[in-house]
């Protein structure tokens, strides 16, 4: 398997289309030929602007067979953000389809990127396969994927995985988890981020298991999750906690007893929700899966003989060594006395062959997080006397909106450029559906309704909708610490006692006038 790829069947849930492995190999070969004819070569970069459909997976493997690296792009980004990414990565080709807003295609075209439509070959247009399996064109240390996690509005932070690091992740997951329970895998997570792509989709699919792909976070599908599991005979699915709100409330539990395992990750899983998922699904094997894009996603989880759901419990490493150290400084993680005692909370460091190659074009940033092959995660945790790993919090500056990360610095960077803003601090607020949502405190030199409406329009032009602050506080100044730095925690505390801007009323008055 190490360089060969043998994929299972693909089914698109909404359309019902299903491609067998042989269909897929033939389509990949055809698409490969097309991409080569368009000038794509080894080490070129290619954007894919759609996802969660059959064409995405064919196009991904076709690009890999040419030797190119792939950047799956969230097509909810604004043209401003996409231009920022494209200027950083300089893709040769961008694959687009009818779901991609024209404004995104236009900005890429203006940068000289060749736009190519999705490979929607009808069945009678697909050539007969020349041989079983796929040609082995992959070189293990070539770039395979670049996943942008933050910085779309400023300096993009792109996690680079090679074919070697991806295969290390998949092989270690197979070793730790087996493959049988993944026989019929459902993916309802976005294919532009690590959890949905590397682990929920590619891991089982490239070991020959069948993948059933659905649009991500579709509420009407979540309300039918039990029926979908039964109809498609699903044995495995992965999830984020916020998905379960709708399914637990509104979906009848599955009846067909096909489910063997569920993973839940990308956000903290409370013991209460954990038990509810176990009860609803009828299986004990609901694992809290801990993963980070930099480590190829899933790197630890609750694959334990006996466990009870507990807040913070993750479990055991999957293809990794986890250490808890008393420092997050990369210079000398293993100085004498660096390791925390059993049961003591400290900084979580990980060593894994699935570690990213680095951040694209940001060696200084890579050096801040990798030292001697060890990666500092930005999380706090402990290992107990049984060797079980617990997460105790995040040091990373991120807002976890339903499993999707929003980085305050990305929002701040946009607001700071608004003419009438003199200071801003974006922070997290609790949200009943998402867990967390985005809020901001802003200092403005003009506070009239018209200025606020202009700020809303500015945010819409520069930020994907899910990043736009849902609650605003207009303040006279931002609290700072003794070093003159704005403290997000202090801003959160200040705003807890303030009345937010009535955004709905403000925008309504604007549309009526």
């Amino acid at each position: 398997m190490f360089a060969d790829l043998k994929c299972g069947a693909l089914t698109e849930l909404e359309s019902g289309r299903c491609w067998s492995s042989q269909d897929i190999y033939a389509r990949i070969a055809a698409r490969c030929a097309q991409l080569r004819a368009l000038g794509l070569q080894r080490r070129d970069r290619l954007f894919i602007l759609y996802g969660n459909n059959l064409a995405f997976f064919v196009d991904l493997l076709a690009a890999w067979n040419v030797g190119a690296s792939v950047v799956p792009v969230d097509n909810r980004l604004t043209p401003f953000e996409l231009e920022n990414l494209a200027r950083t990565v300089l893709p040769k080709i961008a694959l687009t389809d009818a779901t991609v807003p024209a404004a995104l295609s236009d900005v890429l075209e203006s940068l000289g990127v060749t736009l190519v439509g999705a490979s929607g070959l009808a069945s009678d247009q697909v050539p007969a396969p020349q041989a079983s399996g796929l040609p082995c064109a992959v070189q293990l240390d070539d770039e395979a994927l670049i996943l942008f996690t933050s910085g779309t509005t400023g300096m993009p932070k792109g996690v680079v995985h090679t074919h070697r690091s991806l295969r290390a992740r998949w092989l270690s997951l197979r070793h730790s988890l087996g493959i049988d329970c993944f026989r019929r895998t459902l993916c309802m997570l976005p294919t532009h981020f690590g959890h949905g792509l590397i682990c929920n989709s590619l891991f089982p699919w490239l070991f020959g298991q069948d993948l059933i792909i659905a649009p991500s976070f579709n509420p009407y599908l979540l309300l039918r999750l039990g029926s979908i599991i039964d109809e498609q005979k699903i044995t495995f699915l992965s999830s984020v906690p916020s998905m379960w709100g709708l399914s637990l409330k509104g979906s009848k539990p599955p009846q067909g007893r096909t489910l063997q395992r569920i993973h839940c990750g990308s956000a903290p899983l409370s013991a209460h929700l954990w038990r509810q998922i176990q009860q609803w699904s009828g299986i004990r094997e609901v694992y809290n899966a801990y993963g980070i894009t930099e480590t190829g996603s899933w790197v630890a989880g609750t694959s334990l003989e006996n466990f009870e759901p507990e807040d913070g419990l993750v479990g055991v490493p999957w293809g990794a060594v986890i250490k808890i150290l008393n420092s997050a400084e990369p210079q000398s993680p293993f100085a004498a006395g660096a390791e925390c005692a059993v049961g003591e909370t400290g900084y979580v460091w990980i060593n894994t062959p699935a570690l990213m190659q680095g951040y694209y074009g940001r060696p200084e940033l890579t050096e801040q997080v990798i030292s001697g092959g060890w990666f500092v995660t930005g999380d706090m945790g402990l290992v107990d006397e049984r060797g079980r790993f617990y997460l105790k919090g995040r040091e990373r500056d991120e807002i976890n909106k339903g499993g999707v990360k929003v980085y305050p610095a990305d929002v701040d960077a946009v607001v700071e450029r608004f003419d009438h803003a003199s200071a801003v601090c974006t922070f997290a607020i609790a949200d009943p559906a998402y867990g967390q949502n985005v809020a901001m405190a802003v200092v403005l030199n003009q506070r009239d309704d018209q200025t606020l409406r202009q700020l809303q329009a500015w945010l819409k032009d520069h930020l994907a909708e899910f990043k736009i602050p849902q609650r605003w506080y207009v303040v006279d100044e931002l609290p700072q610490n003794s070093r003159g730095k704005v403290s997000r925690a202090a801003v959160q505390e200040l705003c807890a006692n303030l009345k937010p801007v009535d955004l709905v009323g403000l925008l309504r008055r604007g549309s009526l006038s």
């Binding site: 509420p219 559906a433 819409k460």
Partner: protein
């Protein structure tokens, strides 16, 4: 049960969870709440909670037919059928 009043109360509730920049026209009874952009997808969870709390509807056993939550009209029809008086 006064369904006109229920409809107005529902619309008032939707205003509290709608996207801030949804164009302020009257909320169309037939349009899809998510498809039209009035609310984002996970806000359906808040509608479920609203129905449970205000009308005593218990979805835990029967599940929800997604079509019942698609528009203002379909929600009002659900209330008319299921509300515990």
């Amino acid at each position: 049960m006064d369904l006109d009043q229920s409809k107005q109360e529902l619309i008032d509730f939707l205003r509290t969870i709608q996207r801030p920049d949804y164009p302020h026209a009257a909320i169309d009874e037939e349009s899809g709440l998510v498809e039209s952009g009035l609310i984002d997808s996970l806000a359906l969870l808040q509608i479920v909670s609203y129905l449970e709390q205000n009308y005593g509807v218990d979805f835990s056993e029967r599940g929800i037919d997604p079509e019942d939550l698609r528009s203002v009209r379909s929600i009002i029809e659900l209330i008319a059928r299921e509300a515990v008086s």
